[in-house]
Amino acid sequence: MSSITISHLGAGYGKVRVIQDLSMEVRSGETVALLGTNGNGKSTLIKCVMGLLTPAEGSIKAEIDGVTHELAGMRTEDIVSLGIALVPEGRRLFPRLTVEENLTIGAFRRVARKVLPRNIDFCFEAFPRLKERRTQLAGSMSGGEQQMLALGRALMSEPRILLIDEPSVGLAPLLVKRTIEKIAELKQEKQLTVLMAEQNFHQALRIADRGYVIVHGEIAFAGNSAAELNENDLIKKLYMGL
């Protein structure tokens, strides 16, 4: 069992408040999409969950196997140790390490070290391209391959909850589609709880159970199903100014 409950969260940078009084939850085994265009607070929210940004107010509770942890105020390293992993926006690979080194470093977490060989095999099976390029430097790969590596690297830490920030960034449409499908596939195989921030609305909804639309740091709409979100006008207005 693994879930995240965010209540009355407020956060920002310096004097600028990006998120106000935001509450939401990700229940165990769900894939939840966080929708909205750039600059509305999706990344800020993700940063708060990962401890990269300390929230000004509110709480972020993570429940993993019956134990509840308050994430607000915890250090990133400790949050990762709980079994929460993030695939960051822009992938943030270690460009001068090889594919395999990038994967291995993903398994730094104690629990993950023991199952390193199994997880590497899993990644290579899931992403055959990575196996072909195992000795290549991560920085020299194409965008799609990099996104696969970033996903694989996050999985290496044996997470229970996976956060993904903008997986479609910089990818050609076909690759976006494949990446999104891959996420669904991995989630299934690894029994993960997934929170995915994504601007690509339709692609995200293909795999999401539910979704929240964030506008100016507040939840503008909470859709209990993909269909509900699909039918909402707010999205088109927000996205295309129509």
Partner: protein, 292 residues
């Protein structure tokens, strides 16, 4: 046309010398190349390592290389503490580069003076069976005094290379300069990793110091002679790359050796450094550095 065996001898001597330079530069390759910490005082720690080796050798008759290895422990702790100070004062405030340089200049002075005050200004040297002995391989004469440091240096480099590429901590050290935030997302504390890596970098100074005192007697102020050479080797080698640094050290060594032997020793360091300027100007990534 110079005698081929003379050339061979000069080249071999240069390789051995370069191996020793690599031992001094290794710590800088880690601190400066991988962690972005401009530790100008590293050579002073090398001299401190030499004095520590002298104490152990002189009082307990411990073999210098072994003494150097023993001292890696205390030096590691010293390095961790120094990094903590550096981190709190500069890195965490985000004003590292310029102030950091001056900070390490200050540390260089302090280390030197502490040595003068505690160990005196006299020359210190160690005793070991291999000092003063040579072996002959065909027409090449190898003084063990240079061979032992070369072997230890290469050994240390290999061991560290293995540590960096095989262990989790090692890989985290390699990664920390590339993307601190991403490393945090792997569950690693960048500050802890950097402290550890800096500790290792200072620990290598203990070994390099023991090698230095095997090669020649030391007195507190000689560390300054190595600042230029060691930094040059690291920059020429492409900052974080051990192999690049080793090759650059050996190039420096061979140049010095050949120029000394065949032409005029007086110009040896200038020519070695002469390499550095054009390399910096036209190939700023160094000789070998992983591309990107």
């Amino acid at each position: 046309m110079p005698d081929p065996s003379a050339v061979l001898n000069a080249v071999v001597a240069g390789v051995l010398l370069g191996g020793f330079y690599a031992a001094v530069a290794l710590g800088i390759a880690i601190a400066f190349g991988m962690l972005d910490i401009p530790n100008l005082s590293h050579p002073a720690f090398v001299v401190m390592g030499a004095f520590a080796t002298w104490v152990l050798n002189n009082t307990f008759g411990i073999d210098p290389v072994l003494a150097g290895l023993i001292m890696t422990g205390p030096f590691f702790i010293l390095g961790v503490l120094l990094y903590r100070l550096y981190h709190t004062c500069f890195e965490s405030r985000g004003e590292a580069p310029l102030q950091g340089l001056a900070f390490f200049f200050g540390i260089l002075f302090i280390t030197e003076v502490v040595l003068v005050l505690t160990a005196g200004a006299d020359y210190r040297s160690v005793q070991a069976d291999y000092i003063g002995v040579s072996v002959n391989l065909g027409s090449v004469t190898l003084p063990l005094r240079m061979v032992v440091p070369f072997v230890v240096s290469i050994g240390m480099l290999l061991a560290l290379q293995q540590f960096l590429s095989r262990s989790f901590t090692g890989r985290a050290i390699l990664a920390v300069s590339q993307d601190k935030l991403a490393l945090q997302l792997m569950g690693v504390s960048p500050t802890r990793i950097k402290a550890l890596a800096f500790g290792i970098s200072i620990a290598t100074a203990a070994v390099a110091g023991s090698l230095l005192i095997i090669i020649q007697p030391v007195e507190p102020s000689i560390g300054r002679d190595f600042i230029g050479r060691a930094f040059a080797a690291v920059v020429l080698g492409g900052m974080g790359s051990f192999w690049g640094m080793l090759i650059a050290s050996i190039i420096l060594g061979i140049t010095e050796s050949i120029v000394s032997d065949m032409w005029n020793p007086s110009w040896a360091p200038a020519i070695a450094f002469g390499f550095l300027l054009p390399t910096l100007a036209f190939r700023s990534g160094g000789l070998l550095g992983r591309k990107l």
